[in-house]
Symmetry: none
DNA sequence: GTGGTCTAGACCACT
DNA sequence: GTGGTCTAGACCACA
């Protein structure tokens, strides 16, 4: 309950979360992923919402349902996620970031500096 | 009529637009800004929508209404906008970008490369 | 229809009403509060008016919306209201009252006397 | 310019200001008060607005116009103001204050204490 | 069902 | 003319 932002549909946040798990290898290709109900309870969310997220994952070819057994992760899921995310990142996200940098007068060097700091902070955890 | 995206509330886009004008110095500190109705027809939008945007600007201390006279830009508006934008950028967006980079295995050098390309492309327009 | 004064925006009166309910414990922290539409019909008022009130409550951190589920009262809402009210009272209203007393030549003893009378009158109801 | 609140009509604030001057004896009974235009510039306000305030003062019998000479303060103006203000204070203002005190659990003793502090602070200026 | 956004049109007080 | 409030009705995405 309420690890969710209010400015983004919950089901999308669940999709993102699932992709993150796939990338991290916590959900393994070909193996069963937790049941809708299980996840719903765990997240303090309505099953409908999880199901809607699964719909999207399925539509992206990341998971497949097997009658009476639940959902299974596609064999190529990690690669698919990686690929889709990279494309989104470079095609959609970064150009917008670059524009904002320009309008705020921020140089790429500042970004690199910030990144080093962030890297340092993360490593030290 | 529809210089507006559909994926973001119009009134938010008006807020952004106003901030841009403030930064560009097209709206001057202490001076009157165009009336709600004026902007509404100019943008092909209902007055309420502009007013809602103005509510937000007012709440951020960027403009103040004077009854029967219109809205006036706060003296420190440009500084406030600059400040707010930079903070949002460094505190909210960049850390998330860095996380995504990490999960996708993207290095800072790749980003710098992308930036150079983007810079080049933009300059050549 | 018109349990509302005419000298104060309805939406502000709804805000006040909500605060009163929070203080009285009729709306409980963490729990769902009645839906916008529900309240609107109950008060004989347009939904927008209620929503505008809720916008203000939200902005004060007293309630949070959950998409498709309604508004929920913040955990610390009662404390926040209490705190805000007291501060407003002591910082804004009382000094002004004291000034008016001074300019009218009214002593604090007169006020105490009035208070006793008022107290008596209220108790006897 | 802008010694005025935004939550109260300017012309009313001018009326209040005038009453204060009358009480303080800065405007004397039977004597001419500053011209509309003079005040308007002094306050950085439109003459219309001052005039509207004067309308109200005249209607309350506090000032009288003399053709071509301007407005003059009524002989009984100080008493009238005193009287009206006291009545407003005791009939309208205080009961509401007392109600708020009750709802916030504030005792009359606290008020007296606040008053002493305020008195002290004001005297030391 | 919920909140959220947008429109159109009305009326008000203030300048 | 200005901002401000209110209404009525529509449509959307979300749960």
């Amino acid at each position: 309950m309420s690890e969710f932002r209010t400015d983004r549909p919950i089901y999308r946040q669940i999709v993102d979360y699932a992709c993150a798990l796939i990338l991290k290898g916590q959900w393994l290709p070909g193996e069963k992923i937790p049941s809708v109900r299980e996840l719903a309870v765990g997240m303090g969310v309505n099953s409908h919402t999880v199901l809607k997220a699964f719909d999207e994952l399925q539509q992206q070819g990341l998971i497949t349902p097997r009658r009476g057994m639940g959902f299974f992760l596609a064999d190529n899921a990690p690669r698919l996620v990686q690929q889709k995310n990279r494309q989104e990142f470079f095609v959609d996200t970064m150009p917008e970031i670059f524009s904002r940098m320009a309008s705020l007068g921020i140089t790429i060097d500042e970004i690199v500096g910030e990144y080093r700091e962030w890297e340092h902070k993360v490593k030290s955890l």
